[in-house]
Symmetry: C2
Subunit: 341 residues, 2 copies
DNA sequence: CTGTTAGCGCTTTCAC
DNA sequence: GTGAAAGCGCTAACAG
């Protein structure tokens, strides 16, 4: 049997209440007594039963997700996963609330973050827009004792506890590697489509992509980045323009969302143009385009994993508990036609 | 506040003990009373607090892992992950035991399985060798009320509750897809290295690989499969022989373990031969070979995920609880030089 | 400062 | 058949 608080109390010659005070670093214990109890805890090899503690406290973890209201399948997927987590709230002792904010708008995030300062949830997960004022607002929340996790796009330099998302520089490099090898001996130009250079994940993907292309595949020249704001309509127009203006384009890297528009362009260009395409995020649209051979590879981050991981981490950090790093690492999934889930 | 057993008791006008009997399907309740209680449970929308129940029962889940004593890094990794799970046993209420059996030996697995019949652990996870007697022994355990999970290699046709491993047909197809596209316009032969055709995972990978090569890349002819028994020494000898006998080999698919031997051969052949290689399982050896360009892509299953997932599933099945399917799906990871974890 | 006591939600004797 | 009461490991009033 694992040792319990009773065993500590007996060993240290004190009452349960005192043991509890020491265990939870609450005041009202003499230094000497405290030391005695800590000694006993160590001697005996005690580890707290978190489930029992939570039961006694009737603890629930109030959690907040701040998500952009982007009209793209990926963000819809994230929202859907959060909703499923809400459905599981009972068993997981969580109370989850979602705040939707306009996309690519730092001030909206800051406002949401500041609104939470008084509410003091156990944890906040946000899709961060990379701006100093967001960083400051995050740091304030952390200082107020809230556990903060960035989701999908990170906020380096801030004091957030954890990032639940993929390594986007590696993602860009991987895209370049695949595109380069798939293109093989061909020669020509490569177009890059992004959402916005305001979000860190897009910037990093571009950075990784451009770097590896330059290092390993200098035979392909990169066209200037096209920013489609993750908007299918706009993307469609921009890509059509790019393709008609640049007849030598043989490859496309779509590093943002709004691929519905890209796919439309690809379909229209199909008989004449032979394009090798790598895109991000597996959605109903990109999936069927992959199957049809319009897209050659999809890089993906598992939204379900990201959301579940963010919740686990927020809970753990709220209690000052350790996480299992490998379990919380968000993989960059590579999907080809043949390994679709 | 979520409804509790007390609420049910009050609503049904019975005592807690009776509610508990109904909840746990124990005898000693009149049919009429039982119905009344079940009614109340439904009306009130009760869901049991598993943590509290486990606390009251001082429940621990005795779990057994049956693993082959293969001298390869992948199985060592699995064992390592199980050990880490043992270290977490306290908080997870598990008591994990490992039984090691000789590799590729159905009778050893059967003996282990039968030995467990009397012990009746809550769950058993095994790396299955595909044989009728193993299937029968698994079915017996399931019939005895033990929850059984196959790990890494499945046992279709048996009554195991769950398979914690990758889709190996898809893995083989993915390997073919990568190899075919990476080889591009070249022409020549492709060699396939397996561990043993006795294990289902290897057979399935081969099947998927051969099928896709035939469909999509008929320009490459496949050499007969080489069986290296996952043994680095043997693999080294066999691959050396294959390479010298077949000068037209331009690609290799290593679908089993023992890649240490393969890598040795690759190093030795290096200046003269230009080989495109796809291998399975990320280990210290394959990782550095990937970095050095000896291997072009590695297909991997995350041993840590597999072990943690197996444990979650065994526990859930033992209690008749639902799992989150997406969380328990083991991905086929594709690693290139650029997306190594 | 320290201890006693009554729960958290559920299970389990042991009576009736 | 059914119920009262004690207790799982921990926390939180409330006394002293």
């Amino acid at each position: 049997m694992r040792p319990t608080v009773h065993d500590i109390a007996a060993a240290a010659g004190v009452s349960l209440a005192t043991v509890d005070r020491v265990l939870n670093q609450r005041p009202g214990v003499r230094q000497a007594t405290r030391r005695k109890v800590e000694e006993a805890i160590r001697e005996i090899g005690y580890v707290r039963d978190v489930a029992a503690a939570n039961l006694a406290k009737s603890r629930v973890y109030p959690l907040v997700f701040i998500l952009p209201t982007s009209d793209n399948s990926f963000m819809h997927g994230v929202l859907e996963e959060v909703k499923q987590a809400v459905a599981r709230s009972g068993g997981e002792r969580t109370a989850i609330r979602v705040i939707e904010v306009p996309a690519f708008d730092p001030s909206a995030i800051v406002a949401a973050l500041q609104g939470l300062a008084s509410e003091k949830p156990a944890g906040v997960a946000l899709v961060a827009t990379d701006a100093p004022e967001v960083r400051a607002a995050v740091d304030d929340l952390v200082a107020a004792g809230v556990s903060v996790v960035t989701l999908v796009s990170d906020l380096t330099g801030s004091r957030r506890h954890h990032y639940a998302g993929v390594d986007n520089i590696a993602a860009g490099r991987t895209a370049a590697h695949l595109l380069g090898r798939f293109l093989g001996a061909k020669e020509g130009e490569v177009a890059v489509l992004a959402g916005s250079m305001l979000v860190r994940d897009h910037r990093e993907r571009l950075e990784g992509f451009a770097a590896l292309m330059a290092e390993q595949f200098p035979q392909f020249s990169l066209l200037p980045v096209v920013e489609g704001r993750d908007d299918p309509e706009l993307v469609n127009v921009l890509i059509n323009a790019t393709l008609s203006k640049n007849p030598r384009v043989i490859g496309i890297y779509s590093l943002g969302a709004g691929n519905r528009g890209l796919i439309k362009s690809l379909k229209e260009s199909r008989p004449q143009r032979d394009l090798t395409v790598v895109a991000h995020e597996l959605t109903a649209h990109t999936r069927s385009a992959l199957k049809d051979g319009l897209i050659d590879a999809i890089l993906n981050q598992d939204a379900g994993h990201e959301v579940r991981s963010a919740i686990r981490v927020m809970k753990a950090k709220a209690d000052g508990l350790a996480i299992i790093p490998a379990q919380e690492r968000i993989r960059l999934d590579i999907f080809l036609k043949d390994n679709l889930p």
